[in-house]
Symmetry: C2
Subunit: 678 residues, 2 copies
Amino acid sequence: MKKIFHPESVAVIGASVKPEKIGGIIINNLLAAGYQGKIYPVNPKYDQIKELKCYHSLKEIKKNIDLVIIATPAATVLGILDETVGLKNPPKNFIIISAGFAESGAEGQALEKQISDLAQKNKLNIIGPNCLGVINTQNGLNASFANKNFLSGNVGLISQSGAFAVALMDLGKKENLGFSYIATIGNKTVVDEADLLEYFAQDKKTQAVGIYLENIKRGEQFLNILKRTSQQKPIFIVKGGSSPKSQNAILSHTGAMAGDEEVAESLIGEAGGFYLPTTFDLINNLKIFSHFRAPLNNKIAVLTNAGGPGILAADYISQSSDLTLYEFSEQQKNNLKNKIPEASSCSNPIDLRGDADHFRYELALKELAKIKNIGALLVVATAQAQTDIPLIYESLRAAQKYCSFPVIPVVMSAIEQTTKEKMPNFVEPSCAVRALGNYYLWTSRKKTKLVKIVKNKINTARQKQSNHYLEEIKKHGRPILLANETANLGKLYTFNILDSIRTSSANPANLSYPIVLKIDSDKILHKNKEGGLIMGIKNPGELSSAIDQLHTKFPKTDLIIQKTVKPGLELIIGLKNDNNFGSIIMLGLGGIATEILNIKIFFSLQNNLQYIKTKIDTSPLSKILAKQRIKSETVAKEISKAITLASENPSLKEADFNPIIFYPDSPPIAIDFKVVLK
Amino acid sequence: MKKIFHPESVAVIGASVKPEKIGGIIINNLLAAGYQGKIYPVNPKYDQIKELKCYHSLKEIKKNIDLVIIATPAATVLGILDETVGLKNPPKNFIIISAGFAESGAEGQALEKQISDLAQKNKLNIIGPNCLGVINTQNGLNASFANKNFLSGNVGLISQSGAFAVALMDLGKKENLGFSYIATIGNKTVVDEADLLEYFAQDKKTQAVGIYLENIKRGEQFLNILKRTSQQKPIFIVKGGSSPKSQNAILSHTGAMAGDEEVAESLIGEAGGFYLPTTFDLINNLKIFSHFRAPLNNKIAVLTNAGGPGILAADYISQSSDLTLYEFSEQQKNNLKNKIPEASSCSNPIDLRGDADHFRYELALKELAKIKNIGALLVVATAQAQTDIPLIYESLRAAQKYCSFPVIPVVMSAIEQTTKEKMPNFVEPSCAVRALGNYYLWTSRKKTKLVKIVKNKINTARQKQSNHYLEEIKKHGRPILLANETANLGKLYTFNILDSIRTSSANPANLSYPIVLKIDSDKILHKNKEGGLIMGIKNPGELSSAIDQLHTKFPKTDLIIQKTVKPGLELIIGLKNDNNFGSIIMLGLGGIATEILNIKIFFSLQNNLQYIKTKIDTSPLSKILAKQRIKSETVAKEISKAITLASENPSLKEADFNPIIFYPDSPPIAIDFKVVLK
């Protein structure tokens, strides 16, 4: 990866003398940003481009080439790559700008497959195709066809969409947000977000990483890298493609298939990343993390010349689940009152009144600087008649140095900073408070010891047994398992499955009523929905008519009987296959509650009991468990079993315990276990 | 009110030659904005201020004065008002800029009371005190000490905080958002938000109204005016002071007492206003409503040169509860494909690809203009190498004219418009989609017939009876009613209250077990919390020991017995007194569900059955009711009874049916009814 961002030489295939052509823009960008390495334009049509000698082919260069940028039509790309492989010192690193691959239909897909095969065979690093290129502001490498309009700084940006990167670079200029590395990955046929995240995370200059994704290519690896790196660097992810319709757009945009957003949000959060809903949030978070020091604790003070906006800031802090308002002691209030005019209010928010100039702000800032246990200070300023906004900005810049806590500007004004060096600003308090809350969260997480996550151990003997059992079933062409089969599978993994007996072998007189009657079919998965389940059967007479009813509705289908279990908390534990992350386990509320309360928690297969328990304890489910006096550990143990089941049986497509009933004083029992094979 | 915004003459008491003084700024503002009326500076110290003759007193002017602005210290204000009352043609309209009244403590509070008494006696209109003044951009009246930095336009702004108004005016300049009227109301001792809303709503120039409030002074009037006006003009409210701590700041800021935010949000929404969480949302909503035509329907198309941001836009539209993505027909897609290059994707979002220039945008815009059933078009543009942002803006401005639907720009760039006339822009898709959703909602509401809201009829005979009954109880100095008393009150309003009998008059052998035993105390309100309730008593033996237990815990307290009712849906219906709105009715989930699901719906006393039912039907409670097969009308009827109870009995401080149990097939029954008198 290093040679992609720090090449000593770059060849541009498809270089052009025409400044509006992509090959022309790339040459201009490489020349404009101060890149010190060698640049070799390649195009049979020219002998010279700008001040550079232009080569007619790669072969002609006869020098070591660290990075090859390809900006020729899709149809030519495979040939070019093939040619490089045959060179004496074949280059290993490529950026394929060209579009017209997987995103454009079956033909392009086939072409892309050939490229990725070739790359694998020859160990080529390829960024793209269908991307904008990469930028390293540290060495002036602008190997992209992006506009030159952006600031250098300490934010690493990875974007599946070139346009998204362009928007962030451009808006970053307005927001005083600068970048260390920018990588657009397009169809990411070889290099993907996981590779780049790993590379950016170890870079000293990079303080925060922003990522825009539409799908996640290697979910497990990405999560592992995220887990490893998210304590060192804050990582923010915006994900497009949450709606079925925009998933169509993704297919034609970067040729990807989007996964379930809830799952992505949950698993990215589990791995320590920040999953953000909007570009606005991304910019605000990057601004605070890249420029301001970390909050010292979660107690936030507000200083303002603006009554209403100051009150709003206090509201947002109070409402935040991560932050709280700093409480000034009487002594501290008196000290403040001695320094700033009597009319000012010295609680929190400290209201300096509308006629405060920058001198009054400075008096307050210097007094506040003496208080060592403020976590962060939000300074809300509006441009009232007596306010000189540029001078207030200068006071705030100075305060960053003499205050031990960060001083966050919320200047609600169109008036800009006039100095050369500029600070990020927040246009209103709520976005600053949200970002600051994340900063505090990340800082406190950083201090805690990371729970080491180990994959559940595979019991190879059991795995062999269960894989064989499922294979046998599949041989009969039945993807849906019957009740006795799911019971066998569940019991193998120590689940407590409620017994069921076929009506054909049951003696109605000997059953302990009330009972439940349901169909047992390898064709109908959702018995309840299809009307294949009758509950509360009280006696043999009712049973007989229930049997008739189901036999009429589902001819030639076996029926099974289960006893009615005592009421408890109905949960659902399900295994599903996610487009981004593969096999995952879902825990949700069952029964009537699901209709109202959509609580779902997702777990990756890389998990352990302690971590599963923590995740349950910090979810809304914890309240329900507490109320029903059910230990979260009891639930966590069942999740852990499900993870083992999933890990040992990759042939499972879906497996749902629905419901599995939990009790305060007895072991959980699974009433229904559905299994579908791949 | 008209003379405040359209005065023919203005006197400024406390006018100053010093430009930094408030009295100096006001004179400068009046002179600078083109106001054509007479200006009379008043200050005994000067004979002339700028080009104006300065009067030594109001009396000296001897002309009719439409508006008097007072900018002298608080202590002088009452004397000045007193003096005006004695004039031959006493002025009736005042703006009191001066601070130092209710917001500054008991002394100021007393002073303000004297002013409001004087105003009431002499029918004076007073804006303030402790405000920034008012602005009318239509006649150049800047009767404020605000910075002159703002645009004129069609937004009416009412702000309890002067600084909030300043922030919005200032940011409005950056956002191309202009104002018709601006009024800051400060302590609003006479004129309040209700008066101003009524005035702004009838103004032809004003297209949308933005309001910042910390408390609502006359809740009932405000809601009535909001109901009357919210179909004519969209009204947006941001409310500060939701946290207990910021409520302290409000007390010292505008001397107000904030109410419950949940209640405010619910009742403002009920009255057709938009309750917005942030200043950012307020600005975005005002931008879209003030500049763009209304969406024709809820089907939104997206046109973009930016893959990722276009996908995000489609996501937000799909996730919106009010909007949906427009679906192009095959014919429409083909027409588009004929006009724009083959590489472009012609589903929705229509992706013109990164190399789209403004000509390509125009081709697409003109083709889209032919499609008459698009509701609105979101145009997402990023500044890629080939994009000329100012030209794209020009294409979008032109498209507003030839498209029947609104064309909303989401230009994600720091590059500004270069023409003199500028359009509001949205910096990223999510904020545009949220605002557009509100625009659609408002437009469709505008078309529906407003449900006429009539206060429940007062039954004066019953009212007399119940008021008398409660007075008698209060005479004994008992604010908390006993069980038989609440039962009597409840039955008077046709509530079905579960019978209870004293243990002293019950024969344990004759009870139908299981039963519930509870204390009946006029001192302990929350029986359950205090341990004064034992459920599930199965026989006389258990009853006897339960009685012993409660007698030990609550000596000298009467005990009552209730039968156990069959399980159903436990709801809470409560009357509470809100700081902003007075008596209101709350409907919430009872029992275990409250711990998890905090569903609360609030109703003002101005309501009728149809409206109550609609509000329940559109709340999350509707799902629970449906699941349990309980008609929302059944619940609405009980709410209506509670409204009648509250309307007829203003002496009630709190009254809670908790729980009241609802069934699919039998009438609801209130298990416990607590009443507290004022």
